[in-house]
């Protein structure tokens, strides 16, 4: 165990903490005998993949475990001379908010939708019986200003739904900081945010931490974020801390095999050199326009939200075009227009001789096979009531292939994406996220398409699984000579997989060019902003050797 940084006595000591899971869960303990310390004035990042028990540890400190099924069974959490696990609910309540503050992952749901922002913040004072009404009001404004929110006076009177995700997360931080707690626990506070917003929030947390000399326990799955803010790092796997140490050491010289594997899976920010492609375009999008009109009433004109304006690009055979941008940029809209899930308002989607945008209904159906799609959410993209074999075979069957042939082809494809033969007879819920994404790929391939539209195909996956799926995509693309439109918000992924990149903002392509050129020499200010917001971009990922051979494809 490493000693506390800065020579101070540790503020918080977690000793041999074990937390039970309800009977029937995949393992008996969510967290097993973990120990760590948190010192004043430091940021400890707890990093791990989903299910590693990192959030549980944080919630245990706050006494917010979902009792009675999940509760600490052993160990101690020492804070200011007391063992938090021994405190009564009332004593714990006194500490919450005042000595230990917490912020959560989902800013959209973490605020009471029916209560004004100001009220929700001043509730903290109320709960701890502090300040007069007027003082509270003044303090709320002060706090909102401190977390960098515009026009704090009127903002306090607003309801949460008026605020963007980033703004809400700032409100959450203001709330957590209201009583100047000694410890701030941040549970994946930037995961749900766009990359530029994420950079701002990370900056905010870091500066607040420095100003108030807080200890911050920062939980994340993203090594880029770790590289950005961590003083120390604890890596968790299956409820255990497998490696802990100063950030620089863990990031650049990881010791434990798991840590090495995780770091090896992080895509490099540096785009590799790629040969340029020749030949006529396979897909040619010209002046695509799509505007959403919000619910039009009998007497009201709907609000118009442009999602794609004058969007034009080409994809050649064998090319991967990356469509990058933040949420609301219109990148998914463009993807959906191309696979004809959405009707574009105007413009051409020329695929070979055909303009896909012109076709409708029955006429369109036979042409759908050429362009197939891979979806983001591996849980939502497979019909939970269908067997995997059927899911894969459905496409060919819809185009007239008989069932037996289609099923045989499905089995073949499932093997191709690395699943075994029995998979066809099982239901989606029996598979992990990564496996499901493989099924999704098999389904898309079943129609022998020439173009794949992949809409954030790996963003819902853990980093190690993400790497495997990306690898599979690259391999298949290569083998089948496919073209791909790759939609992503993750510039690291884009850097590694795309030949060309189009950057979208508010429905327009602001920059379009070869990946390396765009990364090295961005022309548009927004592109520069995006690139500079990528967490840990200055961290050059070490070339670690991963001893154990890459985990079996079907993990």
């Amino acid at each position: 165990m490493s000693k506390a940084a800065m020579g101070d006595a540790p503020l918080l000591q977690v000793e041999d903490l074990s937390i039970s899971l309800p009977p029937g869960a995949e393992r008996p303990l969510a967290v097993e005998k973990i120990s760590f310390e948190l010192a004043r004035n430091e940021i400890l990042c707890v990093v791990g993949e989903s299910g590693s028990g990192k959030s549980m540890s944080a919630n245990a400190i706050m006494g917010l475990l979902p009792r009675p099924h999940v509760h600490p069974v052993a160990g101690a959490i020492r804070f200011e001379g007391r063992d938090l696990l021994q405190l009564s609910e009332v004593e714990l309540r006194d500490l919450r908010g005042s000595r230990i503050g917490m912020i959560f992952q989902e800013p959209m749901t973490a605020l009471n939708p029916l209560m004004r922002i100001g009220e929700q913040i001043s509730e903290v004072f109320d709960a701890h019986g502090l300040l007069t009404k007027r003082e509270r009001k003044a303090r709320v404004v002060e706090l909102l200003r401190e977390v960098g929110l515009p026009d704090p006076e009127t903002l306090g009177e607003s309801y949460p739904f008026r605020l963007s995700g980033g703004q809400r997360q700032r409100v959450m931080i203001a709330m957590a900081l209201a009583l100047e707690p000694a410890i701030l626990i941040a549970d994946e506070p930037t995961t749900a945010l766009d990359v530029t917003t994420q950079a701002q929030i990370l900056q905010l947390i870091k500066s607040l931490q420095e100003r108030h000399h807080m200890a911050v326990m920062f939980i994340t799955h993203d090594f880029g974020v770790v590289a950005e803010i961590a003083d120390r790092v604890a890596v968790m796997q299956f409820g255990k801390i497998v490696e802990m140490g100063p950030a620089r050491k863990v990031l650049n010289d990881p010791q434990h095999d798991y840590t090495r594997r995780l770091i090896a899976a992080v895509p490099h920010f540096e785009p590799p050199d790629r040969r340029s492609l020749e030949g006529p375009p396979l897909l040619s999008v010209k002046s695509l326009e799509k505007t959403y009109v919000t619910e039009r009433g009998l007497f009201t004109a709907g609000r118009r939200v442009p999602a794609a304006q004058a969007v034009s690009f080409d994809i050649k055979k064998g090319e991967t075009l990356g469509l990058v941008g933040e949420s609301g940029s219109g990148k998914s809209t463009v993807g959906r227009c191309i696979v004809r899930l959405l009707e574009s308002d105007s413009g051409e989607i020329r695929f070979g001789e055909i303009d896909l945008a012109r076709l409708k209904g029955r006429a369109l159906r036979p042409h759908r096979r050429h362009v197939q799609m891979i979806f983001q959410d591996p849980y939502a993209s497979l019909n939970p009531r269908s067997k995997v074999g059927t899911i894969v075979a459905e496409g060919p069957m819809a185009h007239g292939t008989d069932r037996a042939t289609a099923m045989a082809r499905a089995a073949e494809l499932l093997r191709l994406v690395g699943l075994d033969a029995t998979a066809a007879e099982r239901f989606p819920h029996e598979f992990s996220g990564g496996q499901r994404q493989r099924i999704g790929i098999a389904r898309a391939l079943a129609l022998d398409p020439e173009l794949l539209v992949a809409d954030e195909p790996v963003s819902a996956l853990d980093v190690s699984v993400q790497a495997q799926v990306l690898e599979l995509l690259a391999e298949i693309k290569q083998r089948l000579q496919l073209s791909m439109l790759f939609i992503t918000h993750d510039l690291r992924v884009a850097a590694q997989i795309c030949d060309n990149i189009a950057v979208m903002k508010l429905g327009r392509i602001v920059e379009y060019g070869p990946t390396r050129r765009v990364f090295k020499d961005p022309q548009h200010s927004y592109t520069r902003e995006l690139l500079s917001a990528v967490p840990g971009r200055h961290w050059s990922i070490p070339e670690v050797s991963v001893e154990a051979e890459r985990q079996a494809v079907r993990s």
Binding site: R96, T109, N112, P113, L114, E123, V124, M175
Partner: protein, 324 residues
Amino acid sequence: MQKLSFIAKRLVKAVFVLLAIVVLNFFLIRAAPGDPAQVMAGEAGAADEIFIAQLREQFGLDRPLHEQLLIYVGGIVTLDMGYSYRQQQPVADLIFDRLPATLILTGTAFVISILLGVLLGALAAARVGKWTDSLITVVALVFYATPLFWIALMAILLFSVQLGWLPGFGMESVGAGYSGFQRVLDVLQHLVLPATTLGLFFMAIYARLTRASMLEVMDMDFVKTARAKGLPPGRITRVHVLRNAILPVITLAGIQAGQLVGGAVLTETVFAWPGIGRLMFDALLQRDYNLLLGVFFVSSAMVILFNLVTDVVYTLVDPRIELK
């Protein structure tokens, strides 16, 4: 301003819906065999063709159906619901005569059921898994599963006949000559049994809904935020959980408030309550078209009105809803 134009727009829309309902009902009701002339002729103890023809002419039943419809809709547009030849009174008079009784009964039941239902539901949710919860859940379920008229009969049997505590029928002691406060007291006494019986069923619904809704809200992130702030559980339940959990209750209450005006046919029948529900049932049996249509018109109008009220209330409670 925004609110006013919203309401105006909704009202215009409502008028169309109402007219459609009127037309639909018109044909629905005329589809029934038998007409009021036959019923009245029957009751007169004798009928010859001249007499029935006279009645038909008097009621306008000798005209072609579309003409009858036009006349009726024309009347409705000018808020004239026609004349009940059977009762020999304007339909509007008959309905508005009965409306107060229905409103008193259903309104009281409504208030009882919501207050009690939300209270019990909240209590059950707060004590989830404990015996209080089990008891409330079982009681609510039993009331929910019991035929209303059966409970009504049993209640009369027990409290009115056996124990003699409360009057079992009517709305007031007729002929007692009460006035002022005494009369209010008298009506209240008469109100206890029917309002409670009617209220129990709805109470069960609200209790179940509130409980389920509370449990759902309790699982939400912002409740965790509230706990992380160090708020005491009572405050979390009141300020954060209940306020959010009450939204579906408001929706249901809005739907029901509208329907209450249509009266509670069963309750009014068993307790001889002189309300709209019973008026409708009698009008149906006697094929008193104008009256029946009038009741439907008024109750549909009330449903629409209360939907509007619910929408407005909703915007007051939930800032996210914008008036369109």
